[in-house]
Structure formats: structure tokens, C-alpha cells
């Protein structure tokens, strides 16, 4: 495999660092903004449009589930205020608790479709649940957009040829890849990497993809420690001690939610952040407001599903600005990626329904909505979302950044001046790539990415051996 230098590599990936958002390509449908709209064509029934929304209302993951529901609720309220879908059909949301277990969830989805006759199914947080519910949604022929449940397994294996189901979050693989690319460009002389990941598919995917990217981009770096706390762990003493003992220069971590808050508070007292760089896949994604100002600055604080409410910030991207304002006004908290996901999924549905009506008139058939959704590109608070027709997966450009305290918020945010973005097409397996193990993206990276040449970077740290051929240092 060809060896390249890292700078070429990064520019090849299209990685940008800074404040810019990709230029707006004019006339895309967008969410949350009441724009001039044609009158709906044909006869529209005024029966309520029933959405079954299943997410975690109880259990530890309710920290993700509640915002997802609120995001959808907000969108539904806005749409209903304008008369409903196509101006006629008011949205009615039926809540269901995902925490009842996979078995009960499958039953509940059947009940929602067969008994409650829902028109649309939405939600799902756990990556263990989309592979169970996806096939059932297909078999029930219920139009579905999963907001999360981000396992690659869903479209790689569980439903390789989806028709009724879509998903708008990024896949798990993207988190690991994004974190690793950011870490590799920020700390290119990393030699010893430690890992702490939650012990389930999200954590393992983060681990696998972080490793494969590091193998390509930072050759010679080795994994010196792995810790796998169970999801829901709040005592990280042992994991921290183990990690410190391995003397890594970089820690890759994908612990999230309340677990992460407990982790960083404990890690601070162990002086962990002084001893190594830290790259998290998801630290600021789950509950931004739960992170305290004591959180160290300058770590890579990933956001799952590429949304942090401060980015795109200010007036650069009005969709996000208005969404954050409305959400904060309605619920008195800042939205996380799940809130954005629930909101965007609802508007994506609305957009597809509007378009399908525009094409054919009347209330569109599910198949008409599906054909609009396939290949739909839409501007959402998080930026552009594109639904790839072949696998029904939503793609948006990956972002990550560095933790920073600012005056405006009582908690740290991503440093607005150093946001890292990567075009999503460059870090996920392209259409037609054969299904792989553990994921298609993994095998795609393994097989097609070039290898960064060893010692292509100068060592800046004092005492480190200088490479034979000096190359221009990348700005960190």
C-alpha cells in the first residue's frame, strides 16, 4: 500500500479546522423555518397523523431518550401550529418506553402498528434495539426513521436492503474514525495509546475504528492498555489506575452520559489529564450541561452524531440558531444530538410528505414518501443531512473539537475556533462496498486507505529523536 505523508493524507480526507461551514448551496429544503410553500395539492384527510415514538424514558439511558422525545415534540408542535402535515393532519405522538427490554419493544412496535395503526415510527436510542426493531418495522411495513441506535450492524447485516426504515444518525464507525483522525492530526507523535470504552457494541466499534485509523495514520503507535467498564459504571478508580500505570501518551475514550461525568471528575483527582492527551468520541454529545467548568480544556471532546448545539454557531447557520433558541425556550435546557435528531427526523418526514404531495397530489402513499426520502439532502440544525439511497443511512459531515470554557455558558463547549470537520463520504464505506467484519467501514479503511509514512513528521517534543528527513510541521 502506498505510503503518503500525513499532511497530504489529511487534505485528501478534506479535513478542515476552523469556523467555516461548507458554503450553502442555495435551494435546499430546510427545517424549522417557515418558508413559502405551495398549497397542498388534492384532497388531504384531516385524521391525525400518528407517530409512535419509542425511546428511553426510564433507566440510565433516559438522559438520551428524553431529549429525543422533546426534539420530536417541539417539531410536532410547530407543525401542528401551522395546521399539521400538509396543513391538515395534526401530529399525535404515542410514547413508548424503550427500557422495557428488546422483547417488549418488539411487541410494542407491533402493537403500535397493528393496533394503534401508527403512520410513522420514530425514536430508538440503544444500538441493541435497532437490529431487533428494524426487521420488525420492515415486516410490518411501517415507515420508520431511527433517530439513533447507531450500530453499523443494522444496515450491514440485520437489514441489508431496507425499504421502510431509515436512520439519520451517523453510524458508530464514524465516531471512532473522527476521533482518531482528530487525534492523529493533533498529536501525531503519539506512541502509546490507552483505551477506555463501555463494554458493548458502541464501545467496541469505537475501539476498532480508532485503532484501524491510528494504524494508518500514526504508524508505530501501540495499544498499551484496554479497559472495558460496563455500561452504567460510575466507579472508574480501577480503570483510571490501570490506564495511568500503562503510561500512555494518549487516551481514547468513548464512555458517555453520567458515566463520563463520573469518569472525568475522578480522573481529575487522579491527575490523569496532566499525564496524557485525551480523545473522546462522545464526551460533549450526550448531556452538554452536565459537564462542569472543571472539565479540562483542550481535550478532543467528541460529539456523537456530529451535533453540538454551539455549532454551527451564531448567525452562520440560522437553522441551528433558531432551533436552539426555540428548544431552550420550550424546555429550559440546551439540545443534544438526540434532540436535534428527533427534531430533524420529524422535519425530514414533513419535507418528504410535502414533496411527494407536490409530485402526485393528495396524501402520499408510503412508497412515494420513501422514494423522496431516498437521496434527500436537507439542511438541518446540524448542517446538511443526506440520505443515501442504497442503505437508507443519513450522512452528515463529521465534526469534533476541543473542550473550552467560555463566558456565555455555565459548562464547557467545543472551542468555536478549532472545530474539526471531515466530509462524511471520506470516512465511510462507499455504496457497493461489500459488507465486512466487524464493519464495512472498517474493512474499507483497512483495504483502501494509504499508510502514512513512518517518521514523516518532525518531532517537536524536546528529547525526542529527530527524524532524518524534516518535513514542515503541521499547525496544531
Amino acid at each position: 500500500m502506498a505510503e503518503v505523508n500525513r499532511r497530504d493524507f489529511l487534505s485528501g480526507l478534506g479535513v478542515t479546522v476552523g469556523t467555516a461551514l461548507t458554503a450553502l448551496p442555495g435551494v435546499l429544503p430546510s427545517v424549522g423555518v417557515a418558508h413559502a410553500q405551495d398549497k397542498p395539492k388534492g384532497n388531504i384527510p384531516d385524521t391525525p397523523f400518528k407517530i409512535g415514538h419509542m425511546t428511553f424514558f426510564t433507566g440510565a439511558a433516559a438522559v438520551l431518550g428524553e431529549p429525543m422525545y422533546k426534539g420530536q415534540l417541539l417539531a410536532a408542535e410547530e407543525i401542528n401550529a401551522q395546521g399539521g402535515l400538509l396543513g391538515k393532519r395534526k401530529i399525535e405522538i404515542l410514547k413508548a418506553d424503550e427500557n422495557a427490554g428488546t422483547d417488549a419493544n418488539v411487541k410494542e412496535l407491533r402493537r403500535l402498528k397493528l393496533s394503534e395503526k401508527i403512520d410513522f415510527f420514530c425514536g430508538i436510542t440503544s444500538s441493541g434495539n435497532t437490529p431487533a426493531l428494524g426487521p420488525v418495522a420492515e415486516e410490518l411495513k411501517v415507515l420508520t426513521i431511527f433517530v439513533d441506535g447507531c450500530t453499523d450492524f443494522l444496515f450491514d447485516k440485520a437489514v441489508p436492503n431496507p425499504h421502510y426504515i431509515f436512520r439519520i444518525t451517523n453510524m458508530q464507525s464514524a465516531d471512532g474514525v473522527t476521533g482518531a483522525v482528530a487525534a492523529a492530526m493533533t498529536w501525531p507523535r503519539t506512541k502509546r495509546i490507552a483505551h477506555i470504552h463501555p463494554d458493548y457494541s458502541y464501545g467496541r466499534n469505537a475501539f476498532d475504528h480508532f485503532r484501524i485509523v491510528m494504524k494508518k495514520m500514526v504508524p508505530g503507535a501501540e495499544t498499551v492498555s484496554e479497559a472495558w467498564p460496563k455500561l452504567g459504571t460510575t466507579d472508574f478508580s480501577s480503570h483510571i489506575t490501570k490506564t495511568i500505570a500503562a503510561k500512555p501518551d494518549l487516551l481514547a475514550i468513548s464512555v458517555w452520559g453520567g458515566d463520563y461525568v463520573a469518569f472525568y471528575k475522578q480522573a481529575l483527582r487522579y491527575g490523569m489529564f496532566d499525564k496524557m492527551h485525551v480523545a473522546s468520541m462522545i464526551a460533549f454529545g450526550v448531556a452538554p450541561h452536565a459537564i462542569g467548568k472543571d472539565h479540562p480544556e483542550g481535550i478532543i471532546a467528541g460529539v456523537h452524531s456530529n451535533y453540538h448545539f454551539t455549532y454551527p454557531g451564531g448567525d452562520k447557520w440560522p437553522y441551528n440558531k433558531t432551533f436552539v433558541e426555540k428548544y431552550h425556550k420550550r424546555f429550559n435546557e440546551y439540545p443534544n444530538f438526540q434532540a436535534e435528531g428527533g427534531y430533524t427526523a420529524t422535519y425530514m418526514l414533513k419535507t418528504a410528505i410535502d414533496k411527494a404531495n407536490h409530485l402526485a397530489g393528495g396524501w402520499p402513499e408510503d412508497d412515494a414518501i420513501i422514494s423522496v426520502l431516498e437521496g434527500l439532502m436537507m439542511a438541518a440544525p446540524a448542517g446538511y443531512v443526506y440520505i443515501r439511497p442504497d442503505n437508507h443511512q443519513g450522512y452528515k459531515d463529521a465534526i469534533t473539537g476541543f473542550s473550552k470554557n467560555v463566558a456565555e455558558y455555565p459548562f464547557p463547549i467545543l472551542d468555536p475556533n478549532r472545530i474539526i470537520t471531515i466530509p462524511i463520504r471520506n470516512i465511510t464505506a462507499p455504496p457497493g462496498w461489500p459488507k465486512g467484519e466487524p464493519t464495512s467501514t472498517y474493512t474499507w479503511i483497512d483495504k483502501t486507505w494509504p499508510q502514512v509514512a513512518m517518521a514523516a513528521e518532525p518531532a517537536k517534543a524536546p528529547g525526542a529523536a529527530r527524524p532524518a528527513t524534516p518535513a514542515p510541521a503541521k499547525k496544531q
Partner: protein, 332 residues
């Protein structure tokens, strides 16, 4: 003392009771044609869980052992099917059932040797600990079991001819429902014979009085072990039947809280009677499904039901109904 006496046939002659089952069976048979699809699917779940519950009740109701680890055997049945699909490409439901039976015999035989020496709380905790071992293995050995993602199981072939190609909902509501009903009836019949066999009486004797049972010549541990295996196999069969309904196996069904559900079912229906667990499984299934659908405080709801049940109706639905009926008939 040598006067001729007439034989006293046991009063509860169970054969006579079969007549009560006839109308119920008729309802079960016509249901897919009259009820809405969801109700039929829910009932299919209920029947599957009923098989697990009567298996469980062979231990609790008839042998006096409260297992808090029956999730293990349910899970073994389900995972046996999933692994057969993954590694052997087997799609025949009959082979799935055979595989599930073989796997659950193996696991219960080993677990049983360990567990049957104990009774009461020690038995409960030991079964729970062993089921958690399986749970953590399914969880940790993800390259075999799929970890939390679980293992996907496609629609099986029934009797070598019926395939679920096409509309799976219709398949579940008709072909598969009748298949489950058939297996359920076979299981109920077998279990009914077992509990009414001399062996079943011996188990009840062990339940009532271990020492005395020993002194009528019953090998306690061996019989408990056999009961343990039978119980586990029924639950394993239920696990295998459950897989096509869920479409996926996940470690959820191995966790001890799933065992708690099975216990709940038996107690809800009444574990002192044969039909209690069947009624309990079906009713629990409805309770849980509708509670989850209607309130996020479904746990609270189920918890309150459980507490009220054990406080005021310890004999469960069937036990209470029997008592009420006996009272209406008046004392004999």
C-alpha cells in the same frame, strides 16, 4: 380388617377437567380469523411464555424449588437456534426445536447437578448466579454471540414446507400462530401427563416433605435433577419458539430480571394449580404490553400489581377463581 373395600378413585380425576378446555381450545383455534392481527401475535407470545411458565412451575409448584434463573434455559433455547442459523445455516423450525432441546438438556444437566442439592433461598440464589454466568458470557463473547447487538434469526421453515417469504406479519398471525399453538398443546399435554404420573406425585411428595419422601424410597436428588432438566427443556423450547417472534436473540433474555418475569407469571396465575402459570403467562403478557404502551411508569404499575397480588391473592388468578367457585357451590 379384611372386609372388601371399594376403590376410591382420586377425587380430582383430572380427565374430567379436560372438558373445560374444549371451549378455550375452540377460541384459540378461531382467533386468527376474528381478532385483529396484533391480538393474535400477542397471544402467540402468551402461549410461548406459557410453555416456559409451565416448565418453570414443574419446579416451583410441583417440586417446591423457586428458580430465579430460568432466563438461562430460555436463553439457551433461543441462542441454540441463533447459533444453528449462524454456523450451520439451519432454517427448519423442527431442527431448531430439536437443537434447543439438546442444548437445554446439556445445560440443565450440568446446572442441575450443582443446584438440586439445595433448596429454598440457596437454590434460588444459585440458579440466579448460574444464569448470570451465562448472561455475562453471552455479553462478553461477542464474536460468537453478537454481544449486545445479538444474533439475527431469519424466519424459519415450518414442517419443511411453509416458509415466511413475503408478508411476515401474515405468516406470524396464521402459520406461525398455529405452529406455536400446536407445540403449546403438545407441551401442555406432556406436562399434564408428567405432573399426573407417578413421577409427578413423587415430585409433589418431595415438595411437601423431603425427609418423608426419602423414607418411602424416593431418590430425592435424582428426581429433582430430572425435574430440573424437564423444567429447563420446556423453558428452552419456549426460547426457541420465541426467536421467530422477536427475530433476534439478545443477552436481555438471559438476565436474571427475565427470570423474575417468569416467576411473576407463575405467581400471577397461581402456581399451586396446573393451569395457573398458563393463565398467568397470557395475562402477564397483556399486562406488560399495555402497561408499557400506556405509561412510562409501567414498572411501578407492575410492581404494585405484584405486591398486591402476593399480599391479598397469594393463590393467583386461578387459585382465587377456584376458591370463589367453590364458595358459590357452597360447602359440600
Amino acid at each position: 380388617m379384611s372386609t372388601v373395600t371399594t376403590v376410591v378413585i382420586p377425587a380430582r380425576s383430572p380427565i374430567r377437567r379436560l372438558w373445560y378446555a374444549a371451549p378455550v381450545l375452540a377460541v384459540l383455534l378461531v382467533l386468527p380469523w376474528v381478532a385483529e392481527q396484533y391480538q393474535t401475535i400477542l397471544l402467540a407470545y402468551g402461549l410461548v411464555m406459557a410453555i416456559a411458565a409451565i416448565g418453570f412451575n414443574l419446579l416451583l409448584g410441583y417440586t417446591g424449588l423457586l428458580s430465579f434463573g430460568h432466563s438461562a434455559y430460555f436463553g439457551v433455547g433461543a441462542y441454540a437456534v441463533a447459533l444453528m442459523v449462524k454456523y450451520l445455516g439451519v432454517v427448519s423450525m423442527e431442527l431448531h426445536l430439536l437443537g434447543a432441546i439438546a442444548a437445554s438438556v446439556l445445560v440443565t444437566a450440568i446446572f442441575g447437578i450443582a443446584c438440586v442439592r439445595y433448596t429454598r433461598i440457596f437454590f434460588s440464589i444459585l440458579t440466579m448466579a448460574l444464569s448470570q454466568v451465562l448472561w455475562s458470557l453471552a455479553f462478553k463473547f461477542f464474536w460468537v454471540t453478537g454481544g449486545t447487538d445479538g444474533l439475527r434469526v431469519p424466519t424459519p421453515t415450518l414442517l419443511g414446507v411453509v416458509t415466511g417469504k413475503g408478508d411476515k406479519t401474515a405468516f406470524l398471525v396464521h402459520q406461525y400462530y398455529y405452529y406455536v399453538l400446536g407445540v403449546f398443546l403438545v407441551c401442555v399435554a406432556i406436562m399434564w401427563v408428567i405432573v399426573n404420573s407417578p413421577f409427578g406425585r413423587a415430585l409433589q411428595a418431595i415438595r411437601d416433605n423431603e425427609t418423608r419422601a426419602q423414607f418411602v424410597g424416593i431418590p430425592i436428588w435424582r428426581y429433582r435433577w430430572v425435574a430440573f432438566m424437564l423444567s429447563g427443556v420446556f423453558t428452552g423450547v419456549a426460547g426457541a419458539l420465541w426467536v421467530p417472534l422477536n427475530g433476534l436473540t439478545t443477552p436481555d433474555i438471559l438476565h436474571w430480571t427475565f427470570s423474575g418475569k417468569i416467576v411473576f407469571m407463575a405467581v400471577l396465575g397461581g402456581f399451586r394449580t396446573f393451569v395457573g402459570p398458563i393463565v398467568g403467562a397470557v395475562v402477564y403478557n397483556y399486562l406488560e404490553s399495555y402497561a408499557v404502551g400506556y405509561t412510562v411508569y409501567w414498572q411501578l404499575f407492575l410492581g404494585v400489581i405484584l405486591v398486591v397480588l402476593v399480599l391479598s391473592l397469594p393463590t393467583g388468578i386461578v387459585g382465587t377463581a377456584e376458591r370463589l367457585m367453590a364458595r358459590r357451590r357452597g360447602p359440600r
